[in-house]
């Protein structure tokens, strides 16, 4: 990896350079929170945001997306021309970049690459930025506090300047043209160490660090805890909507008013929806909230890991705020911590 240093005062120039050939999406203040939105000027960007309400996944997997158009009379399919905007996501945190890498595993790198996702992913540059955790952040417990790949530039705040990891030629060219880029000095490297350690110390110590989460998800699969957690679930789907890695969808045909033509549309879905595992004939393989909530956490904290060697939860903490019933991975970690404590006594 190539590392260079730029002054913080040069950041607006970098954003403007990106804006010349891309739509720049960045965290801006929106109501009581922050949101990733297309900006018109670098001044709009709030770089010391804690977390956005929803993750940047919406730019890769829109909540609703046509797959193709069809004509019912001729049974013809018209390929849908997905509109792909060359875009820079400026100021993504490590958790969200790691979340995107999880989506890459499903939509880009598997046996059936998804043409819509791949087109958007290829047309998007990611500029990451270092952050400080709030009380709901637990990315460090899931190995997502550092982005090792999946971005083009990563800006590490080292006090009035940025240590920049450069991982693509496209971004390197723009960076070098827009900013005065210099080699990192020993002083910069020491600043980087200080910044990293400040960050590590800032995580909420009340969120328990459970090393063997995946195995515990199997071991405590039948525990009453899931009934307690499931009993509170409102099946609202807010958790999946804000999650940077939730990607389940439904596929439906939507007809035009003439009834002759229409579109096949995929729309975001959530495994806590009561009908999610319903099959033809009426059998529901996950009939209760308990089974559905347990499945959701099982997939986040075990199932995905078994297939892709990393957890599907990246510890961004969004669902902690979004869930009105206080159902979230921190509750699961705390449950495992309690179980450990009981055994010792």
């Amino acid at each position: 990896m190539l590392y260079r240093v730029i002054d913080a005062t040069e950041l607006p120039a970098l954003v403007e350079a990106f804006m010349e050939s891309y739509e720049v999406v960045a965290p801006v203040k929106r109501d009581r929170g922050y949101a990733f939105e297309a900006i018109e000027s670098p001044d709009q960007i709030v770089l010391d945001y804690v977390s956005t309400i929803v993750s940047p996944k919406k730019f890769f997997l829109p909540p609703e997306e046509p797959l193709f158009s069809f004509d019912r009379e001729s049974n013809d399919v018209t390929e849908f021309e997905a509109e792909v905007t060359p875009r820079v996501i400026f100021g993504a945190h490590a958790c969200d970049i790691n979340g995107l890498c999880r989506l890459d595993a499903v939509f880009r790198d598997g046996r059936y690459p998804d043409p819509y996702y791949c087109a958007r992913r290829a047309a998007t540059l990611i500029v990451g930025i270092s952050c400080m955790p709030d009380e709901n952040c637990f990315c460090h417990l899931l190995g997502s506090d550092e982005a090792r790949f999946g971005y083009d530039l990563f800006l590490q705040d080292i006090g009035g300047k940025y240590l920049v990891s450069i991982s693509s030629v496209e971004a390197a060219n723009i960076l070098e043209a827009a900013c005065e880029v210099r080699e990192a000095t020993d002083e910069d490297r020491i600043e980087f160490r200080h910044a990293t350690r400040r960050r590590q110390r800032a995580f909420n110590p009340e969120i328990p660090n459970i090393q063997e989460v995946a195995m515990l998800m199997d071991a405590f699969h039948e525990d009453d805890f899931w009934e307690e957690l499931g009993g509170r679930c409102l099946s609202c789907g807010a958790c999946a909507a804000v999650c940077p890695t939730c990607h389940c969808f439904d596929i439906r045909d939507v007809l035009e008013p003439d009834g002759k033509t229409g579109q096949r549309v995929r729309m975001a879905d959530c495994c806590t929806d009561p009908q999610f595992a319903l099959v033809a004939g009426g059998h529901n393989f996950r009939e209760t909230n308990t089974l559905r909530v347990r499945h959701r956490f099982y997939h986040k904290l075990n199932g995905f890991l078994a297939n892709h060697d990393r957890m599907l939860c990246v510890g961004c903490g969004r669902c902690v705020k979004a869930c009105k019933a206080n159902i979230n991975p921190i509750e699961v970690l705390k449950f495992f911590a309690r179980k450990g404590a009981e055994d010792v006594e």
């Binding site: 797959l67 193709f68 439904d250």
Partner: protein, 302 residues
């Protein structure tokens, strides 16, 4: 003067040459796109089930379509939607795909109204089927309950068409009543063959029934099998699996020689939409056919 040019042949420069895409490339370009298939035959099997025979219209796509017993396709009716349906025909039958479909919801009701010559959309095949190559040389014990005969018939017909490749073949097929027995003509034809040990059973017989009566596990009471050299294949309603698998285990068939086909609503078929997940597995990618050892290791499978 123009006559002098009459023999001129127009040759396109090489740069304009665009090689024709193969069927595989056409499918990969957008895996969500269904391809037109014509219904070539419809056979009523029972009051609620019909057997549809289909032929993919585009020749290149048709040639690219190669399935194994146990795999499924996504069937489209534009404006109504899409549904995963297991393939009922054997891969040895080429050019046509048979689907056995129960009228059970909005989509299948619409399909049941369709006529020969009508067009539907198909994409696939998807999933992992029965390990036919691995099964060759061994005895095969097939157990189907109800609509579970649909995916198993693909394997049964495959075995039939390559009969000398397999050892002893036992088929147990249970239905609720004689009226619900599917593919009766076919099994009637095989009745006096001694290379298929056929047990058709019903729970509730009528006056016309001269087959066995009782659950699908009943024929196990008298069954003699060579457990070290037997593959089991099971498909039926969810409640059936435990009893049939227990019966096979009691006969000594190894965990990893018992294969069962799982039913879920595979909406995308490509390991993305999440609807068919069980534990850490996607039925559409890792299944729908799992052996019992794999199934035991999936949280929430049984």
């Amino acid at each position: 003067m123009s006559n002098n040019l009459a023999s001129t042949v127009q040759v396109s420069p090489l740069s304009e040459y665009v090689p024709e895409l193969t069927g595989e490339q056409m499918i990969a370009a957008n895996p969500y796109r269904p391809w037109a298939a014509r219904i070539t035959s419809i056979q009523e099997l029972t009051a609620t089930e019909k057997l549809f025979e289909m032929r993919i219209v585009d020749e290149r796509i048709r040639h690219a379509f190669k399935h194994e017993p146990g795999q499924f396709v996504e069937v489209s009716i534009f404006g109504v939607g899409e549904a995963p349906i297991s393939i009922t025909s054997s891969p040895t039958k080429q050019g046509f795909i048979e689907l056995c479909i129960r009228n059970t919801g909005a989509f299948t009701a619409r399909l049941h109204q369709m006529q020969c010559g009508d067009i539907v959309g198909l994409r696939g095949p998807y999933g992992r089927g029965f390990p036919v190559e691995q099964m060759k040389g061994s005895d095969i014990l097939l157990v189907a309950g109800g609509i579970g005969i649909a995916p198993l018939r693909s394997l049964i017909n495959n075995i039939h068409d390559e009969r000398s490749e397999f050892g002893k073949v036992t088929i147990i097929y249970g239905s609720r009543s004689p009226k619900e027995v599917m593919f009766r003509d076919q099994f009637e034809m095989w009745r006096h063959r001694n290379d298929f040990d056929l047990h058709l059973t019903v729970d509730y017989p009528d006056d016309s029934w001269d087959g066995e009566v009782g659950l699908v596990t009943k024929p196990f009471e008298t069954l003699e099998i060579d457990p070290d050299n037997t593959f089991g294949a099971v498909c039926g309603p969810p409640v059936m699996y435990r009893f049939v698998i227990d019966a096979m285990r009691q006969k000594g068939v190894s965990y990893d020689h018992i294969y069962c086909s799982f039913e879920r609503h595979m909406k995308c078929g490509m390991g993305k939409c999440g609807h068919c997940q069980i534990g850490h597995q996607y039925v559409c990618l890792d299944g729908p056919v799992f052996n019992y050892w794999e199934a035991k290791n999936i949280q929430g499978s049984m």
